[in-house]
Amino acid sequence: MSNQPGAGAGTTTVRNAVVIGGNRIPFARSGGAYAQSSNKDMLIAALDGLVARFGLQGERVGQVAAGAVLKHSRDFNLTREAVLGSALSASTPAYDLQQACATGLETVVGLANKIKLGQIDSGIAGGVDSASDAPIVVSEGLRRVLLDLSRARTPKQKLAAVSRLRPRDLAPNAPTTGEPRTGLSMGEHQALTTAAWGITREAQDELAFSSHANLAAAYERGFFEDLMTPYRGLTRDANLRADTSLEKLAKLKPVFGAGLDTAATMTAGNSTPLTDGAAVVLLGSEDYARANNLPMLANVVDAEAAAVDFVNGQEGLLMAPVYAMPRLLQRNGLHFDDFDFFEIHEAFASTVLSSIAAWESEKFCRTRLGLDGALGKIDRSKLNVNGSSLAAGHPFAATGGRIVASLAKALAEKGSGRGLISVCAAGGQGVVAILEAR
């Protein structure tokens, strides 16, 4: 398929990077089954299952790339430490990556590119996040005092350092979902976008309902049996509500956008909860897969990142994938109609719906994206067919690995076609990517 028009167009002759398989632990709600587990614990648990599934015990993998969004400073080498604690050969190199919620997808892109260029033959990409075991930081005042104290030589200097301590300095700082530049939480940012696009409560609840129904159906047909390893008593995503209904979702109170002129529509049901979990993906060249008798689920075709200026209110915080999409499609000579699966990360139901609305808007596509007309419509029956983050949960850096593994398997099951991934991220960023069946 490497000669197919469009596949990898923009680059010189490269070989294919294939998704061999994936593994994740069920996602737990924050403070739930994984409350005592660290990021390293969960990443190792996900790696353990992948190693067992593909017989990688004692093997040197070309490189492992992963990351976490909420990361303790002691985990500066999180991925390498996880490799050292895993059954992989200790001679497997690893690096950490951090791109907010796009971390997991970006690790797939980075390692796939190395495989395409022949720099490595195999790689494991992924991510992990714990909202339960989040690092807590001492206040800036206490931090300054402690640093000065460590440099103080004389008792007088030490006393001077300590005397600057104030009671308020003793309050710790827990991480928030607030944007550093604006101070608004991600939900409040999305509420602005939701209002701007007039996304209704009903449409958001319908999308949330579909996410739960699709994920429950995927579990029922055993879709995740070779994509998941139970951990700490969980065998399914703890957030999944297989018995939810539009009526139940309609009863939930809005939690974001209460201060806006328009009615608040975003609830705990149509927004992702804080979640703990980890996901990894095994990538390789075709030669590597054949030599080790491993499956080849899909090719990693291409990817594109984008960023928007949300600070000046020019664009919504989570709308960057909307800008990345036409660039990716044009480079590959493809249109929405050329895809059989769409995996649009459900940070919030309204994020997905705002993106779809933007791509369907002729005015927006002309003025903002510089296109001749609307980018196109997405067939909703092809959207998040095995559930997405609203149902599964969203341990920030783990979401990319979850999506890539699930989409690659869906493509392999179908035996043909293409899948499109769209992931938004904090800081006004986003990454989109194309997978292709083999």
Binding site: Q36, S37, S38, K40, D41, I44, A45, D48, Q57, A82, L84, G85, S86, A87, L88, P230, Y231, R232, G233
Partner: protein, 328 residues
Amino acid sequence: MNDVVLPAMPELAGLYRQAVVGAVLRRAGRRSPASALPEVRHHASGGPVDRERLTAFQHLVGQAARDAVPSAHVHTLAFPVAMSVMARPDFPLPLLGMVHLSNTVVQARALRVGEKFESVAYAENLSPHRSGTSVDLVTKVSVDGEPIWTGRSVYLARGVRTAGGRKEHPEPSPDGSPGTSPAAGGDKSDDALPGSADAFTPPVPTAQWHLASDTGRAYAAVSGDWNPIHLSAPSARLLGMKRAIAHGVYLAARMVELAEPASPDAVSWGVDFLSPALLPGTLAVAVRPGEAPGGSVRRTEVTGWAPGAKRPSFTGWVTGQAVDPASP
């Protein structure tokens, strides 16, 4: 052999109380020490493991919180059964103040989160030792009748001479490490052991363990073993130690994690405790590839010592296979 089935996994605290009573009665001359081991096996069921305590154990010994229970944690889970044998009124040695000489563990597969297990423990090899009398406590753990784990712990009762002891206990001889005299871990003075000094040439250290003063208390919290010799200097002095000492299984668990971090189902390890690791303190640690006597099994050799010490704190080995060193 008589089989005694305990109604539940015994509580260590109760066993320690029983041991204190036994010690008082012994001292008062109300109970004369037995001269032979009781011909009895104690059985108890346990599990599933407490996930929170398992995670705390794993984190304390530097292991990732996996669903496979570390082989050293299995020891702590089944230890109360072995302890109940030692706390029996007809057990010939005083439980309190006994010193841990060595451990070997052979694990065919890991105990998993959520699994119940059966355990059986008995004592054998009551033997004269140059510093007292030693005894082996053998514990076996199975799941649904499938044997998965066997542990042998050798303890020393210092200064105790029993008439019924059989042959001298074989001296621990960790392969490849000099200075393998059977040391009494809790002796107040290094001179108590003739022939051990000057024999130890420290290997090149590859790691360093900082043992904080609360190491013993932290391990007690995750293992349930509140033996006073590990908790604090005053409580350790009551039992004849200079200071609190690190728990042997804590050191063993860290050794296993360092050598076989991926925690394979099959794992075997052995450790000889040659001098106490005082708390707080620092141990230099050397991890080296080696092989079992006979050369058939590759294994990792680990030695830990306090810098400047005349003999190692411990020497041990770990291999990712289920091999019984006693039957090569």
